[in-house]
Structure formats: structure tokens, C-alpha cells
């Protein structure tokens, strides 16, 4: 796949707890194309989130290579990785990970503080992101004043406000009811279709995975099945 945005080659990830050695990823190979919507499924402990963290530059493999848009993340320093994440990756978390003391707008603005944008430009971007997720009237609300679905929309707005290439979603609907989950998945799917974001989503939920264009199953640190959605 020459057009691959994400290339994972022979990646191993080993954790050691005292004398115990846990092989979380075992020689994993994966390519994700530009503009893809990939769902990663599998039981707990299968290595899905670990793989997502490696692709997002939050962690490094024990061996092997992870490259995004041609950049080898395994060779980057923590400082370079932080800089890279700020520019190219948007994260959506299961529990939203919003800062409770900041309003929705201020939460969304956080990634923009890492850019050279002026305050006025940042506010413009924040307003656009809030509009996109349908929360233009909730800018001044604090997370505790929002429903779970609204909090996740704020989380998604924060993930896309920097216009990243890659959107990494870790169980984005895991804490939501069925209807709200459907709305959030609609939003993510729209970001993929309309705005051509490459989405990699970890999920336990088969209904969520159905929204993806490709679904991969993991078990015991390896990809065990691949199917086109």
C-alpha cells in the first residue's frame, strides 16, 4: 500500500513487572491508508490501546518501527514527539479527559496554545470547532454542566481544532448510551468522509465498528483477522 499514512512494521512491545514478562504486541504489521476509517476490535488485553498509543507517539515499541506520513516515530525524542503530536494527531478518549476547571471553549483552545496563533485566531478556530460538533451555544459551560455526549463532543472538537491528519479514538462511545453513542459515531464518520480525516478507532462495540470502512481484530498481541466493512 504505497499510499499508507501509518506503517507499523514488526512491532514488539514488552512490559516487565518484576520478573514477569508480558508480551503485549508480537511482531505486529499494519498499514493504514490516508483517509481510512479503521476500527480495531478485540478482547481486553489484546493490545489495541497499546497499538493506538504507539501510532499516536505516546509510547515507543520495544522493537520494530512505527512511521506516520513517512516520519519514524521510534527515532524521535520525547520533545520531538510532543511537538509532532500537537501538529498531526487528535486524541478522543473514552472518558473525554476534559479539564474540569476550564470551560468547553478553553478546553478546546488548549492544543492551539501550542501554535503561534493569536488569541483572536484561536477564538475563531474554537468557534468553528464548536459549530462543527453542534455545541456553539455551550462554549461557556464547564464539563460538569454538560451531558456525557456533550462532553465527548467537546473532546472531539479539541481533537480536531488543530486540523490534524490523524484522529485516534480510544473507545469513544464506551461511556455513552446507545443513542448518544450513535450520534458521536455519526460525527466521527462525518469527519472521516467530509473532512477526510484518517480515523483509527479502538472499540469493543460491534455496532461502533460497523461504521468503519475496515475492521481489524486483535488477540494476544497479533492481528488475527481482517475484513472489509
Amino acid at each position: 500500500m504505497s499510499d499508507a499514512l501509518v506503517q507499523v512494521s514488526d512491532v514488539h512491545k514488552v512490559y516487565t513487572r518484576g520478573a514477569e514478562r508480558v508480551d503485549v504486541l508480537k511482531g505486529l504489521e499494519l498499514e493504514v491508508g490516508r483517509g481510512e476509517f479503521l476500527a480495531l476490535m478485540g478482547p481486553s488485553g489484546s493490545g489495541k490501546t497499546t497499538l493506538l498509543n504507539l501510532i499516536g507517539g505516546l509510547d515507543k515499541p520495544t522493537s520494530g518501527r512505527v512511521a506516520v506520513a513517512g516520519r519514524d516515530l521510534t527515532r524521535a525524542s520525547p520533545r520531538e514527539l510532543a511537538h509532532w503530536r500537537a501538529r498531526h494527531v487528535g486524541f478522543v478518549f473514552q472518558f473525554y479527559n476534559l479539564l474540569p476547571v476550564l470551560t468547553a471553549a478553553r478546553n478546546i483552545e488548549l492544543p492551539l496554545l501550542l501554535t503561534g496563533l493569536s488569541r483572536a485566531e484561536r477564538q475563531k478556530h474554537v468557534a468553528a470547532a464548536l459549530e462543527l460538533v453542534g455545541l456553539a451555544d455551550r462554549a461557556g459551560h464547564y464539563p460538569m454542566q454538560l451531558s456525557g455526549g456533550q462532553e465527548q463532543r467537546v473532546g472531539i472538537a479539541r481533537a480536531i481544532v488543530n486540523d490534524p491528519t490523524l484522529l485516534l479514538c480510544d473507545e469513544p462511545t464506551g461511556d455513552l448510551d446507545r443513542q448518544t453513542a450513535g450520534e458521536i459515531l455519526d460525527l466521527i464518520a462525518e469527519l472521516n468522509r467530509r473532512y477526510e480525516k484518517t480515523v483509527i478507532m479502538v472499540t469493543h462495540d460491534p455496532l461502533a465498528a460497523e461504521r468503519a470502512r475496515r475492521v481489524l481484530h486483535m488477540d494476544k498481541g497479533m492481528l488475527v483477522e481482517a475484513q472489509a466493512a
Binding site: T50, R85, A86, L99, P111
Partner: protein
């Protein structure tokens, strides 16, 4: 610039979330405040003592003692020698002759008002010129003592600190009865802790034939060297010549050193406890905000600003505690009247505790040092924690 923006952003989040950790933050603030209050209050003793010893003394006044004497207590000068000293070049001359006073310095027992126990109070026998030598001395109640009479005047601070020094009272010291006829001020100086009488009366009362010191007002501060050279090169004399201000500065040295050492040791011991309190608070803060910190780092915030923000929170608590502690010390200690032994003369000096701006700044700086010690390890832990793990914290 972006680094700064990151630091400000994370620090402001930390500060805004302080309310959620009010309990543990308050413990740290109280710890810092306690240390600084004690530190400042103890050192205000040394400051107050130094201040009283430095007030009302002048570089244009010289003090002459017997060679080898550090204090008036251990000095002794013959009448003849005091005349040679008064006539030396550099001494200011008035209409009544040289502005110089040969003086006696003895100790009398006077009970402290606070405890009722006897304390050593200096009784200074002076000549009439003593009032011209020390320009700050003024009678504030009653009248001056008359020559040749068993009359005394008491310094304002002595009368405040010790019992029985009210005007009109009669006091028995040794075989003599003395009447208090007046109170004097002396610009809040050490002289206000003394009782003065006529030197010619004090001499027979204390079986002295000579004196212990000569205080001489000089024509100018620059005349000191001329005066000193004349006396030290005179073969008839064997004397020490000091400036009045330098003499009293040296007099306060022992007590200042003692109090400062004590204050620093006490504050250091307390600081160990307070620093552990701060460590505990900051470790709790970092643990409570583990997921927030991990989220910020996942978004691309650098480790440096995270570290600085944790330090900033610790320093803010320290600043708050230090300010409260300094404020409490100021309210409680500043201006508090007390008296203590001057170890160089074994006599009491009355003074007010002084919480100076320098002490307050020192106290806050001390708190900030504790804040740095209490914040640095939690801050390092915050930035070393794996991001992926932090994101999963509940």
C-alpha cells in the same frame, strides 16, 4: 514564547483547581506559615536588640576605656587620666569647657515588672557634660538630678520594664537610699535602659575613686583619628579609643549571634516538617491530577512546562504560607516590649521586637525555599510518569 504560553496555561489550570484540593493545600500553607512565623518572630529579637543598640549613638562621639577593656564594666580610669582625655585635640569645646563626661558604670538590682524577680540594671554616674555629649537625652517627666544629691533619673524604657522607677519613689541600693526625680528619653537608644545619677555621688556610694569611661563629643566624625592618635601616643595613658556607634554595635554582637543561631536552628527543624507536609501535598496534587497532566502531555504540552507548573503551585502555596506567617509574626511580635541580658555587660537592655521588611522578605524567601524542596520531587514524578499510563488513571 510558546513554552511560556504552555507554562502559563498549565499553571493557571493548576491554580484554578486548587479549590478542589483545599484540604491538603491548606495543610501545606499552615505548615509554611508556622515556620515563617516562628522564624521571623525569633529573629525579630535580634533585629530589635540591634536596633536599640544602634539608635541614639553617633560617629562623632568617642568612648575611651582602659586598654584591653572590651566594656565599661571591666574598665577603670584615674581622675587625672580623664582630665588628659578631655583636653585632647579633637574634643568639642563649649562654654563650660570640653564636651566630655567621665562616667561610672555599675549594676543595681531592680525587680522586673513582668516577673517581680531582680534584674541587673545599669546605674551610670555622669558628669554635667553627659547631656551635651548625648544630644538625644531629654527629660520627659520630673526634673534632672541635682549635683551632690542621692537623686537618679531613669530611662523611659527602664521605667517601663522595671518596677519602682516612678518619679518620687525612693529606692535602696547598698547602704544608700535614692530618689527618682525624673524620667528621660534618649531617642529609643540603649541609654533609655539605664538609670543615671551624679558621678560624684556614685563614686563614694560604690567606693570608687576613679571612673570607668570617658564619653567625648568630637568636633566632627573626622576628628576621631586625631583624637585617637593623640591618646594612644600619649605615654601617660594606656587606653582604648572607640567610636560610640561601633562600640555599641560590637556590644550587640554576642546576643545577635546567639538569637540568630537559635532562630535558624528552630526554623530549620520546623522547616523539615513543613517541607515533608508540602511534599505530601504536592504528591497528592500530582496524583489527583495524573490524568489531566497526561492529557495535556498527550495533546503536545512539553514536560518542562508541566514541571514548572507543579513547582509554581508549590511556590504559590509557599508564598501564601510565608505571607501569612510573616503577617502573623508582624501582628504578634512587632513592637512587643521586652528586656534581655546584654551578655557583654551582664545588664538588662530594654527593647522592642522589630519585624523589619528585611526579615519579612527573608521569611518569605525561606518559605519559597521550602516550596522548591516540597515541589521538585512531585514535579519530576509528574513529568516522568508514562503518558499512556496516566491517561488511564481514574
Amino acid at each position: 514564547m510558546r513554552w511560556l504560553a504552555q507554562t502559563v496555561a498549565i499553571s493557571s489550570v493548576n491554580v484554578m483547581s486548587l479549590g478542589q484540593r483545599l484540604g491538603s493545600s491548606s495543610v501545606a500553607v499552615v505548615g509554611f506559615a508556622g515556620v515563617v512565623a516562628v522564624f521571623v518572630a525569633v529573629l525579630s529579637i535580634a533585629e530589635g536588640f540591634q536596633r536599640v543598640m544602634a539608635r541614639g549613638v553617633s560617629p562623632d562621639t568617642a568612648l575611651v576605656l582602659r586598654a584591653g577593656s572590651d566594656t565599661e564594666m571591666s574598665s577603670g580610669l584615674d581622675l587625672e587620666h580623664t582630665r588628659i582625655i578631655k583636653d585632647a585635640p579633637g574634643v568639642m569645646r563649649g562654654s563650660d569647657g570640653p564636651v566630655a563626661s567621665a562616667e561610672l558604670f555599675v549594676i543595681v538590682d531592680v525587680p522586673k515588672r513582668a516577673t517581680g524577680t531582680d534584674a541587673n540594671v545599669p546605674l551610670r554616674g555622669v558628669e554635667p557634660a553627659a547631656f551635651a555629649v548625648r544630644k538625644a537625652v531629654k527629660i520627659v517627666e520630673g526634673r534632672p538630678f541635682r549635683e551632690g544629691q542621692n537623686e537618679v533619673i531613669a530611662g523611659r524604657a527602664a521605667a517601663r520594664e522595671f518596677a519602682g522607677l516612678e518619679v518620687g519613689n525612693h529606692l535602696r541600693w547598698g547602704d544608700n537610699v535614692w530618689e527618682v526625680v525624673g524620667l528621660f528619653s534618649a531617642g529609643d537608644s540603649v541609654y533609655e535602659s539605664e538609670i543615671w545619677t551624679d558621678a560624684r555621688v556614685a563614686q563614694p556610694a560604690y567606693r570608687r575613686t576613679g571612673f570607668q569611661s570617658v564619653y567625648a563629643r568630637l568636633e566632627s566624625p573626622d576628628a576621631f583619628q586625631r583624637f585617637k592618635d593623640a591618646l594612644t601616643s600619649d605615654p601617660r595613658l594606656d587606653v582604648e579609643v572607640k567610636r560610640e556607634d561601633e562600640y555599641y554595635e560590637a556590644q550587640s554582637q554576642v546576643l545577635r549571634t546567639l538569637v540568630r543561631t537559635l532562630g535558624n536552628v528552630v526554623a530549620l527543624l520546623m522547616a523539615v516538617g513543613a517541607t515533608f507536609g508540602a511534599l505530601n501535598t504536592m504528591y497528592s496534587a500530582v496524583a489527583a491530577r495524573g490524568r489531566e497532566i497526561a492529557t495535556l502531555r498527550a495533546l503536545g504540552f512539553q514536560a518542562g512546562p508541566v514541571l514548572v507548573s507543579v513547582m509554581a503551585e508549590s511556590l504559590l502555596l509557599a508564598l501564601l504560607g510565608g505571607s501569612i506567617g510573616g503577617g502573623v509574626a508582624y501582628l504578634v511580635a512587632n513592637g512587643y516590649q521586652t528586656a534581655t541580658m546584654n551578655f557583654q555587660t551582664f545588664s538588662q537592655v530594654a527593647f522592642q521586637l522589630a519585624v523589619t521588611p528585611r526579615l519579612l522578605v527573608g521569611g518569605v524567601a525561606y518559605a519559597l525555599a521550602m516550596g522548591i524542596c516540597g515541589g521538585i520531587f512531585p514535579a519530576i514524578r509528574a513529568v516522568r510518569a508514562p503518558i499512556a499510563m496516566g491517561l488511564r488513571e481514574v
